[in-house]
Symmetry: C2
Subunit: 549 residues, 2 copies
Amino acid sequence: MQHMYERGLSRRDANYAAMTPIDLLARTADVYPDRLAIVHGLLRQTWGETYIRCRRLADSLVRLGVNRGDTVALLLPNIPAMIEAHFGIPMAGAVLNTLNTRLDVESIAFMLRHGEAKVLIIDTEYATIAKAVSEEFPELTIVTVADIDKGDLNLPAAVDYETLIAEGSPTFVPIPPEDEWNAIALNYTSGTTGEPKGVVYHHRGAYLNAVSNVLAWDMPRHSVYLWSLPLFHCNGWCFAWTLAERAGVNVCLRKFDVEAAFRLIIEEQVTHYCGAPIVQSALAYAPEELRTDLSHTISTMSGGAPPAQTLIAKLNSIGIQNTHVYGLTEVYGPASICASQESWKGEEAGRIAELNARQGVRYPLQSSVSVLDPHTMTPVPRDGKTMGEIMIRGNICMKGYLKSPEATDAVFQGGWFHSGDLAVVDPDGYIKIRDRSKDIIISGGENISSIEVEDALYRHDAVAMAAVIAVPDEKWGEVPCAFVEVRDGMYVSAEDLITHCRQYLAGFKIPKAIYFQRLPQTSTGKIKKQELRMLYGASSLEDAGGFAC
Amino acid sequence: MQHMYERGLSRRDANYAAMTPIDLLARTADVYPDRLAIVHGLLRQTWGETYIRCRRLADSLVRLGVNRGDTVALLLPNIPAMIEAHFGIPMAGAVLNTLNTRLDVESIAFMLRHGEAKVLIIDTEYATIAKAVSEEFPELTIVTVADIDKGDLNLPAAVDYETLIAEGSPTFVPIPPEDEWNAIALNYTSGTTGEPKGVVYHHRGAYLNAVSNVLAWDMPRHSVYLWSLPLFHCNGWCFAWTLAERAGVNVCLRKFDVEAAFRLIIEEQVTHYCGAPIVQSALAYAPEELRTDLSHTISTMSGGAPPAQTLIAKLNSIGIQNTHVYGLTEVYGPASICASQESWKGEEAGRIAELNARQGVRYPLQSSVSVLDPHTMTPVPRDGKTMGEIMIRGNICMKGYLKSPEATDAVFQGGWFHSGDLAVVDPDGYIKIRDRSKDIIISGGENISSIEVEDALYRHDAVAMAAVIAVPDEKWGEVPCAFVEVRDGMYVSAEDLITHCRQYLAGFKIPKAIYFQRLPQTSTGKIKKQELRMLYGASSLEDAGGFAC
């Protein structure tokens, strides 16, 4: 016989609903229909209007033949259509597949094929790609968004986005997921080696991370959010859905540039934005005249890499409060946050920046973010020294990799998502990344964290970017080698940097060579270390300005 | 063959965890171990300490023989043990059954029997009840909490709560629910007729409402919350769990009194509290000298009944911002909120109060709160006139009534929870309660909302409380009859009140009789109309000061 707390007490329509971010928009459109939802150029669109447009989009997609579980791909900058797609596509029961706008045709074609996209919504700026894929995928429906006047796209079969919106029914009833475990998004990770992997998000995780963002950031209702973070990157860390919950304002930014960013921050009284260190650095070191009218405080979340101490100080000095978060595509963006503590206030500035640059503690609605010994699967001691791998588990974790059961099983081994990032845990329980597993340098049997060496380099004012890789060494096995990009208008010699590093690093951790050059970056602002490694292999490198210690 | 978005992508330990409020405490204890969690008299307990105590409690309950799914009952005021129980009992896999401290022995005995409680945790103040139930339930383990010195409880078999805590292991690993649909709490509703019904809450709903409270109230991290609302009432609207998420401060209040409340508000810099209109009224009209040192702004949520316009104005004048919420035990406390709109600011004060006194819109994470025609199950028009029944559906809705499959099926008919409350919907989509189904007055074929008549009475300064019931009438079928409690030190005649009511009500809605007397209330501050109806039937009533129009 069933337990008394189960008997006659099963789930039913009245007390169980699949969690989905669609509901967050539906409520806000009901409660705050006249509040501003999207700002883009002259466009000022309310939440009521946004909901209607999303319903129209969903209806049109269904009419185009999009079925439940079909993939709709997007190649769009941070424009209104991109935000609408985050709701309109799931409302059609379909799966949202945002593509990195900086990818080449081959990569895009791979993803369209692998993800079996039925529709591609593409900005007319990417005409070359649109033409190429329309030839390669004759069955693919192409929808073009004419956000700016780039009239050279002549695709007779393409459908105009605004026509799609106009023809869809404003009273379309959104198709709810049959199960909150249904896919809502497909995000390809740009792995440094091998083919990209398709990370599948579920409605449950998207809903919970949308809310977790609010809790993590203590984000007030009606916050004004600048889209400096690409929406194609982990669905903008789920902030499109968060903004709907908050009835906030999405301030669009088609292309990041400092002048536009500061103009919007001031004009729209932006309260929040996210960005990689490169965005933070651009804002922090922007010409002062861009922010003469900036008088309010702004909150930012930075991710991708820990911001340098000097950068944090610089941001603070112009009224930007930084919170550092850490995550990966597989966990919907941020999985941990360097939650600040009142007790830190007494520390000196440098120490505060150091404390704030850590990866921190688990995100509010994530079950666990731990540093485990990957062999024993037990937590490392909280000694700030013992390295282990960052592992994550909980409801804000992907379903797995599309069509890659082996890769999925491997990355979820032992009941945890294996991040591939190596870290230590400080005595206060805060996680501090040491390295990617593959970036660790093993020198004379000792582990050297490339990040630790980079941190030391970043403490020098003239260093704009730094990357440290392992290079083979006859005596030590491996030794660290640094690549440095110097800040515009400044100068530093390799000797100066070596001397500088000695203040912070043990002798065996000092780079054995320093090269000055522009550093290759991924579209999300990460330095492509793999490229540097290949470059190092090329004989021309030393000629290019390298300095061997 | 499975769809590509399902194949090899099923739930596993790494990406799926049963949602439970236990996790909210675990995270806060990890991240903010040294922050203040509970204030009670001289006690100042941190979140780290609280988590340890809850784990000790859970361990001891398991040692006492409490198994997964067993019921642990509580008869406690708003003291630390009550907050700890909200975590410690679920951590043992058991179900939390808070009992109303104002109930008589018979009711308590009914609930212990019906809920099959294995353990009763009881405050020594309720010695009479403890003795009676210990005789009636020899198998029941009684745990006594000696919060205040009331040394007359001599139960040799009883276990002391602090001994239980001391003997439990601080490293006990909380037992997670096997399924988030598992019961976390059992709350008896004090129906006005028939036996109490046992409302069963699930972990999923408790978790989501804990978060929904934060979103609804825009409640900042580290808020300081005064426990003026009984924790035995819908688990304090789930705020025990909310406070854990916020790493806030629980300011205990063993017994509500205005002096203690204001002292704590000032000393602890309380930022938030909840309460029925009776609590709000007590604070608003308290002697001014109690709040001479009050200089900060406080947010309050009021529920139970819409606060009168004059009460809202009075609260505002002393720095208390009121938000009106509506809900029932079956939906974990608040299900709707009168979310304020910027556009209301331009209205005159009376109109603002009127707008703010409505039941409003659905709570952030609730799927739907609608007013439906109970026959056709279609929404009523947004005309502010057409009455329907408030119906609720979503994830913050009980599993059902314990051991009452028929009552459960009935209340969930048609896929909605039927609240039994009659309401209209204003053109802006805000719900306004008109009456309980059973309180509606049908006079000459016209519906009269008892609440509308009460609202008119409340607009008179001298009216502290008012209740309107239907009484039989030969000509009209039913007519409204009012019971009024006059504010201390004030006077008003029935004739005056009738004249007053004519300003606001159509002739047929004017009470045909007004009685001045103390009004009987439930332990949660609701007026017992059923008692008034019985009283009206008694012949002695007219002698007691009634005035027939």
